[in-house]
């Protein structure tokens, strides 16, 4: 079972995501902003990070880039409640390994994305 870090500034989303994803992943931490995400990732070495694009402090894309520069980088999957077309094309080329719409988030969908990348 892979370890997972959830990064999102909305507590209700984090709670629901934890509930939804814990069937396939071990949720090792939750972070509410970019700084906390980098800190927890460095300490917990999660296999997967589910990363909201819009964070109150650091932009999600920048967080993704910083995460992939760590030793043993995690698989980073971006998520957002905005539609893919509302996000910059960067979402497809940046350091994240995948993107998933928030309302389509299921344990299976995430596991599928991660498997494709590993």
């Amino acid at each position: 079972v892979q370890s997972l870090l959830i990064v999102d500034d909305h507590p209700s989303f984090r709670t629901m995501a934890r509930e939804t994803l814990s069937r396939r992943f071990t949720v090792v931490g939750e972070a509410a902003d970019g700084a906390e995400a980098l800190d927890l990732a460095a300490r917990l070495h999660p296999d997967v990070v589910l990363l909201d694009v819009h964070l109150p402090d650091i932009d999600g894309f920048d967080v993704a880039e910083a995460l992939t520069r760590q030793d043993e980088p995690p698989v980073v999957v971006l998520t957002s409640s905005r539609h893919r077309s509302d996000l910059p094309p960067l979402a497809r080329t940046c350091h994240a390994h995948g993107f998933i719409d928030k309302e389509e988030l299921t344990a299976e969908a995430l596991a599928e994305l991660v498997r494709a990348r590993l």
Partner: protein
């Protein structure tokens, strides 16, 4: 019969001579040309060998016309002499009437007798040229043959002739003044047209300085803007005569404390002074205030060499140019204030949309996303874990309630439905009910106000109540509105700490723009410790339709 004939002949010759002179004057002849014509006519009419025209300048006479019969002495035009002694011209000036001398023996001073001998004169007559009751000059005629005095009464003919010459001079001067006034009026009208047409203010100011310089015959004209400190001004526009030292527009300078500029800035009135500068030497300077919308903006000054100071009244003429400059500057300021206020309105609208998007995204949308996840989870848990599923359902329901409340709040922020459905009074009552500070509402509005006015009043009340609750530490707010003549008035008073920061608050600024866009006035009085009073007055113009009341 013979005498009558001679008189008629003389009269006809005199009239012909005067006609020639009048034609000459009407052609705009210069003083010297006029004097040459006058003296030659006098010489011929009176059978003289010499004729002179002199202009009185203080204590001296300046020869402006000197005619001699063929073979006479060279003309003495331009020479200036004091009229002491007992010369014919001295007698004329002293008595202000005509005079005659029939032989050297009649002259009572040695000076005069010597002068006659020098000029070879044997008989002279003279008469004053009187303009507006003052001696303007003297005309004389002389004969050079012994025992050939002028006939009796010739000096009176000369006086009559001089009177007509004086009339011609007065007419010519009046015509010149009229021409000056016409030129000035036409220049002022042209500039006024430019101002009204909204020509660039720099062009208008250029025309103001150049035209004032040309018409006042100045060496330079400068328009300065007052920089707020008394002794510092900035040159906004300047014109100088091609032969004078140029004045740089844009330069800052510190006028002499005694300067006309400072006098204008201190008194707000026109002024006149002598000023010394290294570039120009001593100048005669006049100044006029530039006053736009009752605010002293600067000064318009004109200068000339001190030897030829401006005539009396030139300050008032300059003032008319200054008024046009003020109008142009005030128009420009009003325009740029209007542009700034429009830009702020657009920016405020953009910011409002941005805030709404963010609020929607961070609020209701997030909650609905979580709800969607919760429902999916519920589906899978329903069979497996009914107790857990029930708990999840309760959470989802709570989340949905919050999302609904957030949406309601957002919709109200977009536009208060109660305002369009029920009108201003119920909308303000609703605001008062929601307010955390007690609010007293006194609306004395019989008919519905135009929709735009109601919306403006609503937002003013909404913002004022929010401020009273958040910043003012108020225990009570009074909201009142009434119609006075053709305006609607709104007052919001609180008993809080006052000292509201008007410059910093974009909310307040936006309200001011909204009110001003309707042609209204928006004032905030917030003295520290004495509460805050917001006053809005909006004219009820015909083009603002009343608010339609819709059922909702």
């Amino acid at each position: 019969m013979v005498q009558q004939h001679v008189d008629l002949e003389r009269l006809a010759a005199e009239q012909a001579a005067l006609r020639r002179i009048a034609t000459f004057v009407a052609g705009g002849a210069a003083e010297g040309e006029l004097a040459a014509a006058v003296t030659s006519e006098i010489g011929r009419l009176l059978g003289a060998q010499r004729a002179n025209m002199m202009r009185l300048e203080g204590e001296a006479l300046r020869v402006i016309g000197d005619w001699s019969a063929v073979g006479g002495p060279p003309p003495a035009v331009g020479s200036v002499f004091s009229f002491g002694g007992d010369t014919i011209s001295a007698r004329v000036v002293q008595t202000a009437s005509s005079a005659r001398v029939d032989s050297a023996a009649d002259l009572r001073t040695e000076f005069a007798q010597r002068r006659w001998a020098e000029l070879g004169l044997e008989a002279s007559i003279g008469a004053p040229v009187l303009v507006a009751g003052e001696i303007w000059g003297v005309v004389t005629a002389s004969r050079t043959s012994p025992n050939d005095p002028f006939p009796p009464g010739a000096e009176h003919h000369l006086r009559d002739f001089a009177t007509l010459v004086a009339q011609a001079i007065v007419n010519a001067e009046a015509r010149r003044e009229t021409a000056d006034v016409v030129a000035e009026q036409s220049a002022l009208r042209q500039i006024a047209t430019d101002v009204a047409a909204g020509r660039p203010v720099s062009r208008v100011l250029e025309a103001v300085t150049a035209e004032a310089g040309r018409l006042l015959e100045a060496t330079s004209v400068t328009l300065v803007r007052w920089e707020g400190v008394l002794d510092e001004v900035a040159v906004v526009a300047a014109w100088s005569h091609p032969e004078a030292a140029p004045v740089e527009a844009g330069s800052l300078y510190h006028p002499d404390p005694a300067a006309a500029t400072i006098a204008v800035l201190e008194t707000g009135k026109s002024s006149r002074a002598q000023e010394a500068s290294p570039e120009r030497g001593v100048c005669s300077v006049i100044g006029a205030p530039v006053i736009g919308n009752a605010v002293l903006l600067g000064a318009l000054t004109a200068s000339r060499p001190v030897s030829t100071p401006f005539p009396p009244g030139a300050e008032m003429r300059l003032w008319r140019f200054a008024d046009l400059a003020a109008q142009a500057i005030a128009n420009e300021r009003a325009q740029s204030e209007l542009r700034a206020s429009r830009a702020r309105l657009v920016r405020a609208a953009d910011e409002t949309r941005q805030r709404l998007e963010r609020n929607l995204h961070d609020g209701a949308q997030q909650r609905l996303v979580s709800l969607s996840l919760a429902l999916r989870l519920l589906e899978s848990q329903l069979e497996r874990d009914p107790a857990g599923a029930r708990e999840l359902l309760a959470d989802a329901h709570a989340e949905l309630s919050v999302a609904l409340e957030e949406l309601r709040e957002l919709a109200r922020g977009l536009h208060p439905a109660i305002l369009s459905n029920r009108g201003l009074a119920p909308a303000v009552e609703a605001l008062a009910e929601r307010s955390t500070v007690p609010v007293e509402v006194e609306l004395a509005l019989e008919a519905p106000l135009p929709e735009a006015v109601e919306v403006a009043f609503y937002y003013v009340v909404s913002e004022a109540l929010a401020n009273a609750a958040k910043h003012a530490d108020a225990s009570k707010v009074v909201v009142s509105a009434r119609c006075v003549e053709d305006s609607a008035e709104l007052d919001v008073l609180d008993d809080g700490i006052g000292g509201a920061d008007l410059a910093g608050g974009t909310g307040i600024r936006g309200l001011g723009d909204r009110v001003e866009a309707l042609g209204g006035r928006f004032r905030v009085l917030s003295p520290p410790g004495r509460g805050t009073r917001i006053r809005v007055v909006i004219p009820l113009a015909a083009d603002l339709a009343p608010a339609p009341i819709k059922a909702g």
